[in-house]
Amino acid sequence: MSSLLFEAKNLTKGFPGVQALSKASLQIQAGEIIGLVGENGAGKSTLLNIISGIYRADNGEMFIQGKKYEPKDYQDATRKGVARVFQELALVPNLTVYENIFLSHESIFLKAGIYLDKNKMIKKSKEILSKLNLDIDPNKPVDFFSFSTKQAIEIAKACSISSELFKVETPLILLDEPTSSLSQNEIKEFYNIIDKLKHTASFIFVSHRLSEILQISDIIYIMKDGEIIKRISSTEVNEKELHELMVGRVREEDYYQENKQLTVFGNPVLSVTNLSKRNYFENFNLEVKEGEIVGIAGVIGSGKAELGKALAGTTKVDTGSITINEHDITNKTMAEAIKMGIGYIPEERNIEGIIDSFPISWNISLSSLNDIVGNKFGLLNLKKERETAKRYLKTLSIKAPHEKIDCGNLSGGNQQKVVLSKWLMRDLKLLILDNPTRGIDPGAKAEIYELLRDLTNNGVSIIVISDELVELIGISNRILIMKDGILTSEMDSKVKNKPSEKQLISYMV
């Protein structure tokens, strides 16, 4: 019943000095969902880039329904039935939904060669959206909608462009980590959308969340070092095996280093009383002791992200107080919070954590130019800056030839290690992390968990805010659950007595 929709044979792509992809072959049946997994740098992005016409393969061939497929560029690929949903949404926020859906394909709606038939565009976009049971007003600007809705729009756009406009029967949709910024509920919605589309399209699905890959895909391709090393049916493999295949090393039981989890803590470090910020959180109370890891769970919009920002001093609160080691830092500047020993790892690494055009050493020292790397006259100690960076390149095994490499050239995991170094070099008392392992490969993840454990051994208090529940459960001593800005529950997460995801979710939603 199924027919071969897409086939790639021996795709090879080299960059100067690097074989990014070698002899990758894959086949996709109509209506099939292919999962693509591999560590960062395994070649997943390169493969997607070739299929979607952004790169051209050095060698190898591709076919769509038996016909040779050689996309000239991304637009050409779209015309031939391949569309891609990007990790970072490629929608223009101030344009309306319908304008976004047909962006760069407006010529189809031209009347008399110049006049854009907007009514027809709106009508068509309504059709497309309702086909997917999406209740979205195409006249509203995209920015009006939540992140998950924006993603739904993007998927709708990807699916419809080929099928509606270019009469491609079964489009191939490439999903590049579509769920990485979604909350649990939104992921469910996302599955529903994929389910609805399954009879009209085929998918290649890339994700770091292996459980998702297992749940959603029919066939899984595993990539490693630029090669597809295995093709396996999702029913024949479990998460642990998949993980082992991917990284080529056994996933140890103590991925979260639970054996190192402390049971006895020191003095209270952070104490938060009745903290409120309108529209975000209300009457929040918390005490964190030396060596303790407190997890904060909650769906997106529960106020947990804003709470983290408030604790780190990057945003002001309305009422309540935050004290660290008995110093009141409520509504003081972030510089003050940093001086008191607070470090903050933001969620949006590329916007808030790392300056791409800065070398590693400059990024690491950025929060220490007032004291450690600079003196009171504002002069910098460049030698110390270099040496600090070198030290962290080594101790955190950041993969870069030297400390002068620009951070934009590093992989996500290595960038995150640079952000961590920025705070590790200081006399840290409290580290607040917002989704610290998002978009990071499992190897680097494990290293980050180990680092957090080591920090607690040195008496540092840690607050982890995360959408990844397994991570929270694994790493935390206790977990706070927020819902609609209110702390609804607190759960112990002791070794050998960890709560389940289900338990957490029941309080979150």
């Binding site: 100067p16 074989q19 952004i54 954590g353 800065f358 934009g408 590093l410 992989s411």
Partner: protein, 341 residues
């Protein structure tokens, strides 16, 4: 924004260190070429003019070029910091005029010591920069608009003060400030500008202020999340730019022997062009004061070379425009710039 995605730079995300090394060396070869492109262009330009005109590469003319570029170098150093922040300053030409006019008037009418006239220029420049900075950083008005406004306003003030006619200065002490030679054979103006240039390189790379200029342009949010007081350093940036424009104004008045209305006008576009040709991106975060010297010399050599080869003055302007665009198009390290606006 186009539909073209940001393609991750896969060739650097490889985990294999040996492959990385290989790749690194090829990459850096290209980078080195790009890095020295402004210098190579300058050398080619100098060779070109010395071939077509025997008067060009003489000691006299070389000193002339340096003299002509000295004031430009002083202001361009200040503008470098503004561009590093990703901002723009359109008012520094007017600051030059105002500081030059007031400095000259003080010398003529009160006979103050020369050093004080420099100080007056500096203070005026800093104040103008402070106004720019406050409106920009605290009032959150785009720097383009703020400085467009102050450009007109300051020009107007200068015109009101001198009523449209030049202020000639005959004080020999004041003229010696730039025309004398503390080091035999080298006019003071060249000496001052080189000293200021070196100080600015020091400030750019060895001070917190300099680093924050890079940080604000490269990733303002990141800097903020690292505890940097963004607004304060934005204001500082404009004050430094104003300071140098103010000093440049007095130096220029001394060099010309008079302060004239709109005397800073030509320096505005030359200054921005020199910084960008040197390799500091308009989008911020990339470049640095050290690169600005080459840009300044390129502009000066081009102007001088065309002048002594008697190129039609109107054609000169056209050629300058073409060179600016070409130099930026070829030389800019676009890899580091995410969005070109």
């Amino acid at each position: 924004m186009s539909l073209q995605p940001q393609v991750p730079n896969d060739n650097f995300r490889q985990q294999n260190p040996e492959k990385q090394k290989n790749n690194d060396s090829e990459y850096s070869k290209k980078m080195i070429l790009m890095k020295f492109l402004p210098l190579i262009s300058l050398i080619i330009l100098i060779l070109f003019f010395s071939i077509i005109n025997s008067q060009f590469l003489t000691v006299g003319n070389s000193l002339n070029i340096l003299r002509q570029s000295a004031v430009l170098l002083v202001v361009a150093c200040g503008i470098t910091f503004i561009l590093l922040m990703g901002s723009i300053d359109l008012s520094f030409g007017s600051i030059i005029t105002l500081a030059g006019v007031l400095g000259a008037l003080m010398i003529v009418h009160t006979g103050i010591p020369v050093i004080l006239s420099i100080l007056i220029g500096a203070v005026i420049g800093v104040l103008c920069g402070l106004i720019n900075g406050l409106i920009f950083a605290i009032g959150k008005v785009p720097s383009f608009l703020v400085t467009l406004g102050t450009m007109f306003a300051l020009d107007g003030i200068a015109l009101m003060i001198i009523g449209g006619s030049p202020v000639p200065v005959n004080s020999s002490g004041f003229l010696d400030l730039t025309r004398g030679s503390l080091i035999p054979g080298i006019p003071n103006i060249i000496l001052w500008s080189l000293i200021i240039y070196l100080i600015m390189i020091f400030i750019g790379f060895k001070t917190k202020f300099g680093r924050y200029m890079f940080a604000i342009g490269g990733g303002e949010t990141v800097a903020k999340m690292s505890g940097v007081n963004i607004s304060r350093y934005k204001i500082y940036g404009f004050m430094v730019s104003g300071l140098l424009a103010g000093i440049a104004g007095v130096l220029m008045a001394s060099r010309l022997g008079s302060a004239t209305p709109r005397m800073g006008e030509d320096l505005l576009l030359d200054g921005i062009a020199a910084v960008v040709i040197g390799g500091t991106a308009l989008t911020g975060g990339v470049g640095g004061p050290h690169k600005t010297l080459i840009g300044v010399l390129l502009i000066a050599v081009l102007g001088n070379g065309m002048n002594i080869s008697s190129v039609d003055p109107y054609l000169q302007i056209v050629i300058k425009g073409v060179v600016v665009v070409a130099a930026v198009a070829i030389g800019l390290d676009r890899k580091k710039i995410k969005v070109v606006k």
